[in-house]
Every structure is written in structure tokens, then in C-alpha cells.
């Protein structure tokens, strides 16, 4: 029943055996102990499990682990390098975009992908982009500001 997979996760090659039914979210949490990816629902609605697969944000509970064989996966643990915060992490800190922190990894993974395709979004565009990510603590108010903060910072850095 076991299937062998090889995945590049946060820049490290991971090889292992998984059941065919194992979700990517469970593989990351249980097999790789990357518990920053959270599971908030069972209907692919809440977005807490959002990660990047080959650079695109996806809900890791909608993919099977076997589907990412040969792919590159980035989780929240791989967002920042060298101990410094990624602009999106900095945005969430500066603008108080998190309270309990449970939805935060998914929000940030969603937002970083969104900002790639829309580096200078309006407030309306940010709110629409967050449709698939639930937060119960912040009323989304400061999450919007956090993403705006990151957008500005990332443009500055790239300019």
C-alpha cells in the first residue's frame, strides 16, 4: 500500500513512504513534523493549511501527498531565511495581523502568492483574495493592513 515519494520541502529533499490516501497536510505535519501548517477544517474551506506547491498557494488538505512527488513545497517554516523575517511576516507583526496565530501561516502563504501576481493591490482586491482563508480573531481588519504593509515593503525591496 505504501507509495514512495520524493519532495523538495523548504529546500530540503525529503524521501519517504506514504499511504495513497495521506493528505499533503498530514504528510507535512505527521511525517515531516512541520506543524506550522495547521488543519482547521475538513472541507477545504478555512485555508489554515495553505502552503506553496511549485510556487503556487494551495490548500494542502486538498492534495494527496503522492501528488507532490517530484515537486517543490514551501511551508511557513520555509518563508524566512537567515533568521530574518520575510516582509509578509514583518507586516503581520507590525500591523498586529495575528492574535491566536492559528490561521496566520495559511494567511501568509496565501498572501505571498497573491502579492506575486498583484504586487500593488487595493483593499478590495486584498479582501477578495482572502475569501478562502478564515480568521476568527482579527475581523480581518489588521490582516488587510499587514498585507498592504508587506506589499509596500516588497516593492521597496525590489525597486
Amino acid at each position: 500500500m505504501a507509495n514512495k515519494i520524493s519532495v523538495m520541502v523548504n529546500g530540503k529533499q525529503c524521501t519517504g513512504e506514504v499511504e495513497a490516501r495521506t493528505l499533503l497536510s498530514d504528510y507535512l505535519r505527521e511525517d515531516l513534523s512541520l506543524t506550522g501548517t495547521h488543519i482547521g477544517c475538513d472541507t477545504s474551506s478555512c485555508g489554515a493549511c495553505t502552503v506553496h506547491v511549485n510556487g503556487k498557494a494551495i490548500k494542502s488538505c486538498t492534495m494527496l501527498a503522492v501528488q507532490v512527488d517530484g515537486s517543490e513545497v514551501t511551508t511557513v517554516e520555509g518563508l524566512s531565511t537567515n533568521g530574518s523575517l520575510h516582509p509578509i511576516q514583518e507586516g503581520f507583526k507590525e500591523e498586529h495581523g495575528l492574535q491566536c496565530g492559528f490561521c496566520t501561516p495559511g494567511m501568509m502563504m496565501m498572501a505571498t502568492d497573491f502579492l506575486k501576481s498583484n504586487p500593488n493591490p487595493s483593499e478590495k482586491e486584498i479582501r477578495e483574495a482572502l475569501e478562502g482563508n478564515f480568521c476568527r480573531c482579527t475581523g480581518y481588519h489588521n490582516i488587510v493592513k499587514s498585507i498592504q504593509h508587506a506589499a509596500k515593503k516588497m516593492q521597496g525591496v525590489e525597486a
Binding site: 506543524t35 482547521g40 472541507t43 474551506s45 492559528f102 482572502l130 475569501e131 481588519h141
Partner: protein, 788 residues
């Protein structure tokens, strides 16, 4: 001198959450850990004829299966922590709430068996092989229907499903006479619908029995580890409390739903002893929908009378409150002492009577959900007064201003004594409303509303609220039925190097205690924020705690910290006086050092700390060390208040309602960290607006929760909200050392009626004189209201 207090200090806890290093219960793994899945009843009301676990026991990976019959009779059910008596003096009906049902299931989701296997998937697979034979019975889900003769009974020996009835305030006859003499009476029948709390982290519990130390550890997603330990040890499992450690690690939101002691916590602890392995249980979201204690669910009739000048002369309210199938930890307090006692609101109403009938139904338990009783009280008052303004054709803001209690600071002027058993601490109500009116541009809005010609309707809704927070004085809550004290503890431990560890009985699950508390400590002790660490959530390190709910952490937990700081500084002054060869009376403490007044002779906090632990040159008779604990029991609740205004736009063709603006001016007393307080308000607003416009649990007649998933239950999303416009006034609390009142629930308390009032206002201005639309205000409901 404040370097930190009043500043938006960025949160010290953020880094671990931002980098994926937060440790929630489900993130914890132990060697040899096994996984539990709880098989639950698919029926709301049924008798179990038999349970056959034979096939399931042989399934792959199964370690053990326990049913209700495997649990010894000596183990009690989950207890209720608040007793409310019937009007006639009889004790409330408190039927047992077993960990696993033996004979009769009473709601969909009632636990029937626990299946433990080497993986969660295996446990789930095996649970499908458990064969339960049920006889299905009729169910009742509505709290008013449950009280009628002939309704299906939830528990034997509880006639008319009545858990208790309760009354407070002036005699009914006096209220009736005042209403009879009123110039205008507004009457409303309405439902405050059932809400699902939906903390984003699903509940999780790990039970671990350590044979070496004969000690149990429970990791659980809880808002109050110590109370969970007390209830579980003393009332459920009969375990010695000192042999049980309860840890609430990082917790992903609570909103009330994680205050309570749940059956699963006791189950994993008991099972871990049976199989001698650590057991993890984490619920799925659909399981959370069925078993996390719900909120609200009131069916109410209320009348508010006015004299010819528009002054309120009387209020009569009757509420049927749904308890669900069992009494959850604080459930009886919610519709009574957290609801009836708030019906004075901000108004001078001279006659008030509130009558509550609490019933059992074949539904999941209902208990405290953000605001707990106070949102229901505010909804009642604020719907009535706004509707009265429409009926009497007077301005809703002016009608409120006319009825507000006059300002009082609780120092020069006495606290305001209400008709419903409370004494408000301090209040100044007109400024919050006036500020909100200014922010919204009231006169300009009314012009815009009149002149609208785009196929839309515009409406404005008000809500001015008060809440009782910082719960609170133990003797008071004890007299009201609480079976626990509601103080808080704090220990301030100064290390020999002058670094400070603070152990708090409050529990942060998003509120930012590790920052706010540290700001208080750093400022009061004159040391750097980085030199303070706040430790919470572990019964083995924190002396005791009553946990976090009821906006109590800062007012009660923060005040306990202040008490301990005072003790540290008092002893520190004695050591400093010895080192400076001065009298401690001649010293002043500022900027982290004791100075002999009028001189440049001083000694720093670090030197004093070291001397306390290396007491070579030391005051005679003084104990070494610098480490103090305190228990703070307040003298009163705190009473935050505020004014909220909603502006909505309704599409006449579809009934689609857009929330265009939301203005909130709240007074939560002194503010330690404005950024965190604003965040608390934002989150509360979203939950209150969510109730008005989107959310609500729906049980069908057979007791099935028909919207028990995120595909069906409408969770508010980012684009459901405008950017909130918030501000505050500051009226300090006169009775705690920080002058704080609490901010956790304000947003959820004020916002719901403001939104509904705005929709009703829009409809009236559009010629549809409807009194009520049931929440949530779906386009279909709003459209139907316009088809008169």
C-alpha cells in the same frame, strides 16, 4: 513614568507564530503515542439497545475500544459549575452528563465509544465497524417548544424539560402598572439565534499517565487549565489533584468555547491509565460543530414603555433560554446573571422585570460565547429602543441621550445602583455616542438617505451598550450560584540577576498577555521589557488560576500582578535601605533604582536582586529571596460601555445587504496597549456582525444540525466587512489598581443590534414598516420583508 504603558508595543509572542513554531496541542507528539476517535450518536434522541465492538477490535492498528459500559460507575459525568435555583427555591435540575453514553443519547454528537489506534485514520476506520443498535425517538430542539406540555422529554424526572426558571428586578405587577400608564409601549418577539463559536483551532486533548511518577498530564486546548484540573480531578475522575498536571499550551482561539471542562479531556486521561500509553484526540471541524458548546439561543418577548417626554418608564422581558441536552460548565449563569442583570443598560429605566425559563432540548450544550448573556441583553434593549424611536417618529440618537444615566466617576460620585442587582463602577455615556455621531457625519447621512435614487435603500442603526466584565468578586458570584471563586493569582519571581519571571493564572489564547502583562511589569519595576517573561497555562508552574474569559485577564489577572510587584518593591526597598544605610522611608524608586531622596545616593534593582539571593550584607531578620505571590479578588465587576453605529445599503431587487460602514466608540477604561485593544475590538465586531448578517446554527425537527460544516455554516470572510472606524473614550475603573475595564467582548456585544437596527431603519425609510427580521439577515429574509 511610563515607558511602555499606553504604547502600542509590538507583541513578543508573535515570532513563534509567524515562523510556524507555535505549539498547539495537536502539534505535540510523544513516544508511543496512540490516537483516539470518538464514535458519536447520529441521532438526537435514541435508546442504545446494544453496542458490538468485536469487528472493530480486530481492525488494523486498533489498541483499545471503550464504551460507556466499560467506564466504572464510580466515575461521574461532567459537572456544572454554576447553580441557579428555581423561583420556588428548588435547586435547578442537573441530570448527569456521562463521559460516554450508556443507555440514551440526547443530541447528535453524544459520545458513544472511544476507539484508540496507532493512527487517527485507523481509529476512524475501525469506528465504522462498531455496530450500535438504536431505537430512535422524537426530538425537540426549540427552547420554547421544549417547555410545552407533551414535548418529548430530554431527561427523565425533568418535567416540561425545565432546567430552572428565574426572575429578577422589580415585582411584575409594578412593571405592568408602569407599562399600563405609558404613553407608548414597544413590544417585540424575537430570536437571538444559536451561534457556533468556531475557534480556528479545533479542540484537542492529550492524556498521558506516567507510571514512573504515578502522575497524569493533560495537554488541552483550554482557556483555563486550573479549573479544568479541579473539575476533572474532584468531580469526574476522583484523582488526587497534585498528581495531575494540566497544560493549555498555545491555544488557537476560544471565544468562550474552551472555558469548559469537556468529556474528552477526562476520557483521554482515564484511557491513558488503562492502556499505559499517551493518547491524542483532536476533533474534526464537523465534530467541533456538534460538540463545542454553542452560544446564545434565546427566544424572547419584551416590552419597553415610554412617557410623553420619551423617557423609559418600564421594561418587561421574558426569555426561553436553550441549555441543550446537558448543563455545560457555566451555562446556567449566561441567561441569568450575565443577561438579566444587564437589562438596565445605559438607561434610567425605573422599573425592570426579567423572567427566564431555561429548558433542555435534544441539541448540543449551550454556554458562554463571546459576551455571554450581555450580547443578548444588549440586543434586547437596543432593538427595542431603536424600534420605539421609529414608532414614535423621534430620533434614535436623541432618544438614547435623553435616557442615559448621568455621569459618575465612582469616586466623587457613587456608583450607579441598577434595578437588576448591580452597581456600575464608573460611567460617562453621552460622549461615546456623541463621538460616534461625529465620526459618522450624522446630519449629512440623513440627507443622503432621504435623497437616494439608485434602487437602493440606506439605513443607519445604533447600539449603546454596557457590559459587566472582569468577573469578579468571589463572594458576589458565590452568592449568585458560582461553584468556584473568581479571583486571579500571580507570582513575580525576581531572578538573582534582576531578570523577572511572572507566573499568571490568566491564559492567553490570542489576547497578547505575554506583551501587555510585560508592559505593566517593566514599567512598574523600571526595567526593560526584554527582562520580563510571562509564563502561563501550566498547572505545574503557575500556583493557581481561574483562566481567561469575561474580559477578566487584565482587570483581575493584571491587578494580581500589580499586587505582587508592590510586594517585591516593598521588600526591595528594605534591602536597598540597608545597602544605602538609609531608612526605607527616605527612599524613592524610579527608573529601576532606589535613591535617597534629595541625594545622588542610589542602588539599582539588579544589585538589590543579587543581594536578596547572596545575602551577605543583609538586613537582620529579613528572609533571603525576592519572589512574591498574590491572589487578587476584586470588589466589583468592571463596566465597559460604548456606542456602535452601522450603515447598510440594501438592494431593493434582491434584498442583498451590504455593510457600508461600521463605527465603534468604546470605553474600556485605561488602555495598556492600544494596538492590542483595537485588535480585540475588531475581532469582536466581526463576530457580532457575523451573527447579524451571516451565521447561525440550524437544527431540523429531528435534531440534525443541518449546517454543521464550513460548506454550510456561513463564516464571515474578509470581504464581508468594511474597514472598521473605531475610537475610544477613557473612563477609568475606580476599583482596580490599573483602572482598566476589559476589552475582549465589547465588539461582539455592541455590534449585532446596530446592524439589525440599520436594516430596519432602511426598510422603514423605504416605506416597509417591519418590526423584525430574523437573524442572520440573509438577502432572502430582507427581500421577503420588503414584499408587504
Amino acid at each position: 513614568m511610563t515607558k511602555y504603558i499606553g504604547k502600542s508595543v509590538k507583541r513578543v509572542e508573535d515570532k513563534r507564530f509567524l515562523t510556524g513554531q507555535g505549539k498547539y496541542t495537536d502539534d505535540i507528539k510523544m513516544p508511543g503515542m496512540v490516537y483516539a476517535y470518538i464514535l458519536r450518536s447520529p441521532y438526537a434522541h435514541a435508546t442504545i439497545n446494544s453496542i458490538d465492538v468485536e469487528a472493530a477490535s480486530k481492525a488494523d492498528g486498533v489498541v483499545a475500544i471503550f464504551t460507556g459500559n466499560d467506564i466504572p460507575e464510580s466515575i461521574a459525568g461532567v459537572p456544572c459549575g454554576w447553580q441557579v435555583d428555581f423561583k420556588n427555591g428548588d435547586t435547578m435540575k442537573e441530570p448527569p452528563h456521562p463521559l460516554l453514553v450508556r443507555k440514551k443519547v440526547r443530541h447528535v454528537g453524544d459520545g458513544v465509544a472511544i476507539v484508540i489506534a496507532n493512527s487517527k485514520a485507523q481509529a476512524k476506520d475501525a469506528s465504522e465497524l462498531v455496530d450500535v443498535d438504536y431505537d430512535i425517538h422524537d426530538a425537540v430542539t426549540d427552547p420554547k417548544a421544549a417547555a410545552q406540555d407533551g414535548a418529548p422529554l430530554v431527561h427523565e424526572g425533568v418535567p416540561n424539560n425545565m432546567a430552572f426558571d428565574w426572575e429578577l428586578g422589580n415585582p411584575k405587577e409594578e412593571v405592568a402598572a408602569a407599562l399600563a400608564s405609558a404613553t407608548h409601549v414597544t413590544e417585540l418577539d424575537f430570536v437571538n439565534q444559536r451561534m457556533v463559536p468556531n475557534a480556528m483551532e479545533p479542540r484537542s486533548a492529550i492524556g498521558h499517565y506516567d507510571t514512573a511518577y504515578d502522575k497524569y498530564t493533560l495537554y488541552t486546548s483550554t482557556q483555563n487549565p486550573h479549573l479544568t484540573r479541579l473539575l476533572m480531578c474532584a468531580f469526574v475522575l476522583g484523582l488526587p489533584e497534585h498528581k495531575v498536571r494540566v497544560v493549555g499550551p498555545d491555544v488557537g482561539g476560544g471565544f468562550g468555547s474552551k472555558i469548559f471542562h469537556y468529556a474528552e479531556e477526562a476520557l483521554v486521561i482515564w484511557c491513558s491509565k488503562q492502556i499505559l500509553k499517551p493518547i491524542k484526540w483532536t476533533c474534526d471541524r464537523s465534530e467541533a460543530f456538534l460538540t463545542d458548546a454553542h452560544g446564545r439561543d434565546h427566544v424572547t418577548n419584551a416590552k419597553m414603555g415610554f412617557d410623553a417626554d420619551g423617557k423609559i418608564v418600564a421594561l418587561q422581558a421574558h426569555t426561553y433560554a436553550n441549555m441543550g441536552a446537558y448543563l455545560s460548565t457555566f451555562a446556567p449563569a449566561v441567561p441569568t446573571y450575565l443577561h438579566g442583570t444587564l437589562l438596565q443598560g445605559l438607561y434610567t429605566t425605573p422599573k425592570i422585570n426579567v423572567d427566564v425559563t431555561a429548558t433542555f432540548t435534544h441539541t448540543n450544550a449551550v454556554d458562554a460565547y463571546r459576551g455571554a448573556g450581555r450580547p443578548e441583553a444588549t440586543y434586547l434593549l437596543e432593538r427595542l429602543i431603536d424600534l420605539a424611536a421609529l414608532e414614535m417618529d423621534v430620533d434614535p440618537a436623541e432618544l438614547r441621550l435623553k435616557n442615559f444615566i448621568a455621569p459618575f466617576d465612582g469616586v466623587e460620585q457613587e456608583g450607579y445602583v441598577t434595578q437588576v442587582a448591580l452597581q456600575y463602577d464608573s460611567g460617562n455615556y453621552a460622549p461615546v455616542l456623541n463621538k460616534a455621531l461625529e465620526m459618522v457625519g450624522y446630519e449629512a447621512f440623513r440627507e443622503e438617505q432621504k435623497n437616494l435614487s439608485n434602487g437602493k435603500l440606506l439605513g443607519i442603526g445604533f447600539s449603546t451598550y454596557i457590559e459587566a466584565c472582569g468577573i469578579a468578586p468571589s463572594a458576589v458570584v458565590g452568592s449568585l450560584g458560582a461553584r468556584a471563586g473568581l479571583f486571579e493569582s500571580a507570582q513575580v519571581r525576581v531572578q538573582p540577576t534582576g531578570k523577572v519571571s511572572v507566573y499568571s493564572g490568566s491564559h492567553s489564547h490570542g489576547q497578547g498577555h505575554e506583551t501587555t502583562f510585560a508592559q505593566i511589569v517593566a514599567d512598574r519595576m523600571g526595567i526593560a521589557l526584554e527582562d520580563v517573561e510571562i509564563i502561563h497555562g501550566d498547572s505545574d508552574s503557575v500556583a493557581f488560576g481561574m483562566g481567561t474569559y469575561g474580559s477578566r485577564s487584565l482587570a483581575v489577572g493584571g491587578s494580581a500582578i500589580v499586587k505582587s510587584i508592590d510586594k517585591v518593591l516593598e521588600k526591595g526597598a528594605k534591602i536597598a535601605a540597608h545597602l544605602l544605610e538609609a531608612s526605607s522611608d527616605d527612599l524613592e524608586y524610579e527608573g529601576g533604582k532606589w535613591t535617597v531622596k534629595g541625594t545622588d545616593k542610589s542602588v539599582g534593582f539588579g544589585d538589590v536582586s543579587l543581594t536578596a539571593y547572596v545575602p551577605h550584607n543583609y538586613p537582620e531578620g529579613l528572609e533571603p529571596g525576592l519572589d512574591f505571590s498574590s491572589f487578587y479578588d476584586p470588589t466589583n465587576f468592571t463596566y465597559p460601555f460604548g456606542a456602535h453605529i452601522a450603515i447598510v445599503e440594501i438592494d431593493k431587487e434582491t434584498g442583498y445587504t451590504k455593510l457600508k460602514r461600521f463605527i465603534a466608540v468604546d470605553d474600556v477604561g485605561n488602555v495598556i496597549n492600544p494596538m492590542i485593544v483595537d485588535g480585540q475590538i475588531h475581532g469582536g465586531l466581526a463576530q457580532g456582525i457575523g451573527q447579524a448578517m451571516h451565521e447561525g446554527a440550524i437544527y431540523d425537527d429531528t435534531g440534525q444540525l443541518i449546517n454543521g460544516s464550513y460548506m454550510d455554516y456561513c463564516m464571515p470572510r474578509a470581504d464581508d466587512f468594511p474597514s472598521f472606524e473605531i475610537d475610544r473614550t477613557v473612563t477609568p475603573c475606580p476599583h482596580n489598581p490599573l483602572g482598566v475595564k476589559g476589552a475582549g467582548e465589547a465588539g461582539a456585544i455592541g455590534s449585532t443590534p446596530a446592524v439589525v437596527n440599520a436594516v430596519i431603519d432602511a426598510l422603514w425609510k423605504g416605506g416597509h414598516k417591519v418590526k423584525d427580521i430574523k437573524m442572520p439577515l440573509t438577502p432572502e429574509r430582507v427581500w421577503t420583508a420588503m414584499q408587504d
